[in-house]
Assembly symmetry: C2
Homo-oligomer: 592 residues x 2
């Protein structure tokens, strides 16, 4: 049955909602697709629910096509499995917790690794049962610190999450590849531009992880990419190539020098150029080694200072650092912390105080650029003194390397000899080789061919379903409103009755019925007392890809077909309208 | 694509789960439809999800057919609207409450009256916008004191809830009738027996309310019905006809008598027959007026004693009383309460101490049977004394009547001159004229034709969607397993490969493909190393209505079609199998 705007539960708004920062949020609210209930919690009005269901349908079809099986877990989950995996603690404030009337602890599931793992453990016991891919399209909850941008980052949202279960790594690779290909088909059908970027594989490391980012100005994720070789990675995942080791024969011995009042890189460089000028080139920030100390807070509450050495021309990037030390949280190193660690002289910290060999015993990790044989100016652990000609590998070593320095456009591509560019995106999908982390924590084992118990190897795969609705709008709108891709549109054709004559209304109903017989979905703007101008505006705001205007021309047997995306209009004979529209929609669906 | 049991995420169980009390729970777990996560919280495995979606589809089609519009509210709801309607308090322990990271209070929606009302208020402003019916099929939460019977009474469950919005009572009547008719179609299609019973309209009274109860031994709701006139009501809603007033001319004056040691009806009746024998007939419990005192706890925490007078041969029914005093809760009247109310002499309480005219000032409500002119023996408010020949209306009055006495099979039908029978049922649907309760609390008004603001009149309508899955099984199973009605079955045909010969497997796939071309859904039991006996057992447990056995007969070109419900088997030529099955399924669907 066609939707009629005279009765549809819809009110379009002329004004942007006050809290809307991004186009998709503005337009989805103004066009009557969603309505805010509380920060990050939205109602899907009839048109919005249609689009949401269309996204779900695409995701479901592509998941089914790779043999994944759909099931449905509850959102209200008991604490115990999340304690077994440590996530009850790790999630901190980011999950909603609650107690039932008997005082038992529960959470609202942010993702369902534990439940999938336990259910497979419950049902399966043999290698013969594998491989298995199961998924759900389900409502999830996260107590976001900053819910924003409508349904782009919500506290209640719909996700497709799937998990693969394999007997070994080779099986996981296959399942991962199947999901990756399915995701490519899903995002192609959803109709927005995206990039696949390398992502952090988590603290365990080793396994593969990629994100599907919709390219968007309003995105919260920064990624870098190389226009030459196609390499792309989110900033957390960028690996800085370590320079080849350099010999230090002939390099002067390290020598401490008075550098009074140089607690910052800027003051230090100025001082070096004034007091210790070099012949070949001036001192620059990149010649100095900056040692930054932070406080790690581990999930069990223990606090551990960590020192990071980076070239002085780079900052430590919070996101990159956070991803490296996960599940620990990073806090600033306070004056009190300095007081408790007297070996650290603020502004003049050097390797001599750090790491296994240092006086403070504080763990010390270096940026990969600080490779063997590289030469630095750095703190002497005495106020007002720095060491010059300190050579890595000769004069100091660290406890390891860390990828925590900021990534900048223009940095060398780790994959070829070009440089990286930066861009922003919205995380729309994630494929991730979990390995045995959850299977081990929850003891998911099966018998292999030789009758031996082996731990199952898992993959985890997510698509933001409600987020996709916003994401599609980010990539498909103009100043007048939304422009839905055909497969997502709440209807195929939006019929505007532009006039007061009864004959227009009668004809609109007749055409709507005929279109429906052809399998098309139709919105009819049959409102009385609403001007054609307002109706046109609403049709552009709502964004159905094909608009049929039935107006004055009908007297001469003409109606107008308008393409919402291109703005193209063409008159057709009213008797040809159904055939023309059906052909247009069908052709578009087949192309997509 | 056909489901293949060789890879389907399914394990059937031979043993009943330990915690399963009712057939639907046992069978849904054993046949691999659902899996318990915590009390009243279940996972829908692939077959179960298919059935759940089939129920949703039926509900959706019938709601759409009456012009109701689907939308989707969140489950995570802010406290404020529920405070405005008083439900934040009224729900007590029955809702899940939680706080977000900023300390804001939320609940998990048990029903969505507030959200629907506020959203209509947000979008609509004129009588021209009405009538409106909107609905959602959504996951709901109740912190049940005793979750039981699998998905029959869960803490997380799927419901269809709809609300109608009308400008006046006449509009509400129409919307109510439309929903009622849609519900009849829904429950007819779901394929279980049900009755429509009158239900309590809530504390406000006056408006209409009916429940759709699936008749089932395991049901938690008791209802009464009249086999003669068709009257049916849940016990809370039964109205006891008040007797016509009787004159009291010639009736002896009331007289207090010593009745030592008669604190119970039984001892009193024995005493009366011994010391005050009547000529025409013996004293019986029904001649006495029993005055029961309870303590009401109002939502705001205030405590109010309430006295209820019922004929001595009836108990006060907790459920009926609870429904009458809602939203107050009923607690027992303790010894301490008696001590605080010295006018009440335990075991000898009479009207003289109760009601507006009594010495205690405690509110006093009478069973309708205690009509004007009826004559009673009751307490004299003195230990060891009762009053005889006390006439209602002459010697005492009360503050009103209350329907709190138990209803018994054999009681007169309030509708005709027959008697009532009792039965048990499961509440599957509820249609309810809310009136203006929520619209008033949340200030939902629209302009009427004369430009005056009027309060919108609402109706509320619910269907238990996940509960329906269990309910259907309660009504459709035998000792071997489930017997799905056609429209709900996870597949149309269950193909059993009964043998090891490759040709059987090949033929099964061929037939499955052809059935799918005909639009049928198919399960193929293609497991290797599983005996035909086990496969037959599983097919009966799973309960697909039509089973196709491909076995030894194939060598002679024969296969067997089995009807799960009747057990009927017939051999057909393998080449006719697809046509025969298609005809069977199609005929059944058309009949339904």
């Amino acid at each position: 049955m066609a939707l009629h705007l005279s009765s549809l539960f819809l009110r379009t708004l002329r004004e942007d909602p006050a809290d809307a920062e991004v186009p998709s949020h503005r337009l989805l609210v103004r066009a009557g697709y969603i309505r805010r209930v509380s920060p990050g919690v939205y109602t899907w009005l009839p048109l919005g629910l249609r689009v949401l269901r269309n996204v779900e349908k695409i995701v479901r079809e592509e998941m089914d096509a790779i043999g994944a099986q759909e099931l449905l877990f509850p959102a209200l989950l008991p604490k115990e499995p999340f304690e077994a995996t440590g996530r009850w603690t790790e999630y901190g404030d980011n999950i909603f917790r609650l107690q039932d009337r008997k005082g038992a602890d529960h959470l609202l599931g942010p993702t369902h690794e534990e439940m999938f793992t336990l259910t497979v453990k419950d049902l399966y016991s043999s290698y013969k049962d594998l491989p298995l891919s199961i998924y759900q399209i389900q409502t999830k909850y996260r107590d976001e610190a900053r819910p924003r941008a409508g349904v782009l980052r919500g506290r209640e949202f719909v996700m497709k999450d799937s998990y693969s279960f394999d007997i070994d790594e080779a099986g996981l690779d296959k399942s991962y590849q199947l999901h990756r290909e399915a995701y490519i088909r899903i995002f192609d059908r959803l109709g927005f531009h995206y990039v696949i970027v390398e992502a952090m594989a988590g603290a365990m490391g080793g396994s593969k992880s990629e994100e599907f980012l919709a390219t968007a100005e309003v995105g919260e994720d920064t990624y870098v990419h190389c226009t030459s070789c196609g390499y792309a990675a989110n900033v957390e995942a960028v690996r800085v190539p370590a320079p080849d080791p350099v010999g230090w024969e002939g390099t002067a011995a390290a020598h401490a020098e008075d550098t009074p009042d140089t607690p910052t890189i800027e003051t230090l460089v100025a001082h070096l150029n004034e007091r210790f000028p070099r012949e070949d080139r001036s001192w620059a920030a990149g010649d100095t080694l900056k040692n930054v100390v932070v406080m790690l807070v581990h999930p069990d509450g223990t606090r551990e200072p960590l020192a990071i050495g980076v070239p002085g021309d780079r900052e430590v990037d919070e996101k990159r650092l956070g991803a490296q030390v996960e599940p620990a949280e990073v806090e600033a190193f306070t004056e009190a912390d300095f007081a408790a660690n007297p070996a650290l002289v603020k502004g003049y910290i050097g390797p001599g105080a750090l790491g296994l060999e240092g006086s403070s015993g504080i763990r010390y990790l270096l940026d990969p650029r600080v490779g063997e044989g590289t030469r630095w100016v750095t703190g002497a652990n005495v106020a007002g003194q720095h060491v010059i000609d300190l050579v890595a590998g000769r004069d100091f070593t660290a406890d390891g390397t860390i990828e925590a320095a900021e990534v900048r456009p223009g940095d060398p591509c780790p994959n070829c000899d070009h440089t990286l560019s930066a861009a922003r995106g919205i995380e729309m999908g994630h494929v991730f080789q979990l390995g045995t982390k959850y299977a081990e924590a929850l003891d998911l084992q099966v018998l292999d061919q030789s009758g031996k118990l082996v731990t199952v190897v898992m993959g985890s795969y997510g698509v933001g379903v409600s987020r996709a609705v916003a994401c599609v709008v980010e990539g498909n709108h103009d100043e007048s409103g939304i422009i839905w891709p055909r497969e997502l549109a709440p209807a195929d054709v939006h019929v505007v009755v532009a006039g007061k004559d009864d004959a227009l209304f009668v004809k609109a109903e007749e055409i709507a019925r005929e279109l429906e017989v052809q399998g098309l979905t139709v919105i009819v703007d049959d409102r009385k007392g609403v001007s054609p101008g307002v109706k046109f505006k609403d049709s552009e705001l709502i964004g159905v890809p094909t608009i049929l205007v039935i107006g004055r021309g009908l007297a001469e047997g003409k109606v107008e077909i308008k393409d919402r995306r291109t703005g193209e209009r063409r008159e057709v004979a009213v008797d040809d309208a159904v055939a023309a529209l059906t052909a247009e929609v069908t052709a578009e669906v087949e192309r997509s």
